[in-house]
Symmetry: D3
Subunit: 168 residues, 6 copies
Amino acid sequence: MKVALYPGSFDPITNGHLDVLGRALAVFDRVVVAVLANPRKSPLLAAATRVEVIRASLQGGELGSAAGADRVDVVTFDGLTVEAARANGASSIVRGLRAISDFETEMQLAHNNRRLAPEIDTVFFMTEAEYGYVSSTLVKEIASFGGDVTGMIPAPAAAALREVSGSR
Amino acid sequence: MKVALYPGSFDPITNGHLDVLGRALAVFDRVVVAVLANPRKSPLLAAATRVEVIRASLQGGELGSAAGADRVDVVTFDGLTVEAARANGASSIVRGLRAISDFETEMQLAHNNRRLAPEIDTVFFMTEAEYGYVSSTLVKEIASFGGDVTGMIPAPAAAALREVSGSR
Amino acid sequence: MKVALYPGSFDPITNGHLDVLGRALAVFDRVVVAVLANPRKSPLLAAATRVEVIRASLQGGELGSAAGADRVDVVTFDGLTVEAARANGASSIVRGLRAISDFETEMQLAHNNRRLAPEIDTVFFMTEAEYGYVSSTLVKEIASFGGDVTGMIPAPAAAALREVSGSR
Amino acid sequence: MKVALYPGSFDPITNGHLDVLGRALAVFDRVVVAVLANPRKSPLLAAATRVEVIRASLQGGELGSAAGADRVDVVTFDGLTVEAARANGASSIVRGLRAISDFETEMQLAHNNRRLAPEIDTVFFMTEAEYGYVSSTLVKEIASFGGDVTGMIPAPAAAALREVSGSR
Amino acid sequence: MKVALYPGSFDPITNGHLDVLGRALAVFDRVVVAVLANPRKSPLLAAATRVEVIRASLQGGELGSAAGADRVDVVTFDGLTVEAARANGASSIVRGLRAISDFETEMQLAHNNRRLAPEIDTVFFMTEAEYGYVSSTLVKEIASFGGDVTGMIPAPAAAALREVSGSR
Amino acid sequence: MKVALYPGSFDPITNGHLDVLGRALAVFDRVVVAVLANPRKSPLLAAATRVEVIRASLQGGELGSAAGADRVDVVTFDGLTVEAARANGASSIVRGLRAISDFETEMQLAHNNRRLAPEIDTVFFMTEAEYGYVSSTLVKEIASFGGDVTGMIPAPAAAALREVSGSR
């Protein structure tokens, strides 16, 4: 069984992330979505909330045509990505590519992960063009000004942003 | 009448910004320079100071050959850029392009602004080569060490930097 | 009246080109689509055919929501782009931006055109995301293998490609 | 069974290609190396020679630690890559990424292949750093001047280049 | 005598930095490694520690084949790089290039330094491919999670990171 | 004595090349400008003409402030660049960097040259901003249409282009 780890901050998960997840499920038997809990990165949403949002997004059928939500696990992790991969029995790390700036950072991470764990390799998928300009950071900025983020993030993510926004 | 919004932090305005403004005035009937007031971005100069500096730079004839300073408005805004465009009756957003890293960020912003306001489009101008390596961030760093910023920013901007520097 | 020149090979015109043309018509009063006739570039379609295809695409209402086909002229040119702009009374050159590789080439052309004709400036529009990966070269390659190019080029362009293909 | 198509010119296959192939074999059950026969691209080596060189390189154990040469097929194809994938029962296309310029071209190809065949997706692997600057084009140029290409291409590829060179 | 300044944060020095230093010593008679002391950049290691680590790395013969450690000075500086160059009698500034993102930043810095000090020019060396993905930032992150940084930084740098880590 | 090889097609030499040459002369004792004679690249000017144009440009004092024309040799070469460096006693190869696309190609060449000749390293200089958009290819295109290339290439190069143009 081929297991892949899909690590990220997912603060919150976007439709671009769900698109990459669907593509990974077409190649791997199981995908572990690994939410980076690192509090030093000052996420907007708590790690537990981010996990709940991802699970709700999967149940809601937002994954699209790739019927594979039952082959997804959602966990949190802190520390090295390759350790999270090993801990979850994953032999591959999945990452999405949108733009050039992604590419350079991802190349650096992939090469360093190989150095730390030669038995684990990174596999890249291209985000669908319509999500190519969506990022969690931009979504949070638009939402903070009351802008409409429909079509950029799944409904449970939008709900979580509204809740955080209301409590500030 | 074609009105364009030229949004930015302008902390402070540089000769590169003035160059782009002059190019926009050759295409549009009126250009509204919109200073992002967002205090979360920790600007060096207060929004009101940045507006004054821009106005002084325009009066001083620093705009160069494009005689159009009387067709420029300077305002502050916070929130979504497309809302500022709507509020100022602008159907276009003007942005300058200097380098690759600009380009990727600008593509992302332009596509997201279209999603939020399909009736408003972004129009890009290339900064003149001699200003291609000038940025507000670099200018502030050079000025903070007492370096000479002549030729990079207009005189009123240099004066404002000296004043802030003296008061620290 | 603001007139812009939109130069290119248009071998054939794509939906991405039409998207840029529509955006230019929202800013300029008149846009002259200028087909580069240069036979040294070994185009697939004759210059006259490319002009006909563009005109047919405009009449067919393929320009989309920007109702402005009557404000478009289609001409051929050879030689320097800035001379074509002058000859057609255009004070701006319009170009579309899709990707990084476009950007570098376009920066070089824009700066050189400024050197040759300081009174004419280049104005850039971002191609819509869904057309960001469409290019005339790729369309011709797909069509040459019998692949489906629907949605990538307007119907008259597809017809012209079929005709050329049939005659080979 | 997960089958992937690894298309390319392989004129000749390099150690970078073999590195990507080994990585693909860690994820897929079977990888079909598909040699583009297109004579319009004026390859240096005939398609049949390129196939032989790949097969010899696999037998010679040059694939490295990924013991999987028996799970590789080598075929030729002409026409659309997605048609070659369908014809070979592949649900994924494998491509290597080395540099930024690769990335933009690959994004364009991947998006167009999705448009032509939504059921087939492209999966990317990062070439090992030491092969990041190896390309078939450069290898051929070095070899044509009698330079040493050891470590850049497998021995059968070097032999094929010498033979072609001797016959000119 | 040709003297070059090699400025940087060196927080800590990596094997990539040592590789560039060795290359610079092949061209220049003397290289002054200039450690940016700027406390506003919140370095992990104190400036004095970074200087000690560099000196220890040079003595330990980690510089590789370029036998030139006796032609290296290590100093700290704050303020403008060109002033540090002048103060140390250097007519050139040395910088390493790894990736595209480096390149744009370095172009901006080099052009601004020329503007500030036309008599001093920047000279660039390519980091060896195996160090192309090593950065001080990444090394610190890996070390903070207890990951193995052997081969990425010299032994004295690893020791300094362990000491800082133990004291937190 | 430090000798550097500055290889290129120089078809024809531009003011950007002369700018790089002047910068190299500030670091090296002697610079050998090596004109690639390779007839397979279909140059516009014969190799001997390109050599003459470079020599005339140096004598004419077009090198600018760097008084060092007497420390320049001009030769032709064919084959591997590292062999030309060895044959001319050069321990460094000089290359200019203008833009991102340059950068990737140059990185590939530099790494491959190191592989072929570890004792020879490539040293990069940034072209002055005003020449950043000048290329031999573009200059030839502009000149072929009768455009003004003053300020882009030295006078002897312009004369050579006129002569070739007149004879066609």
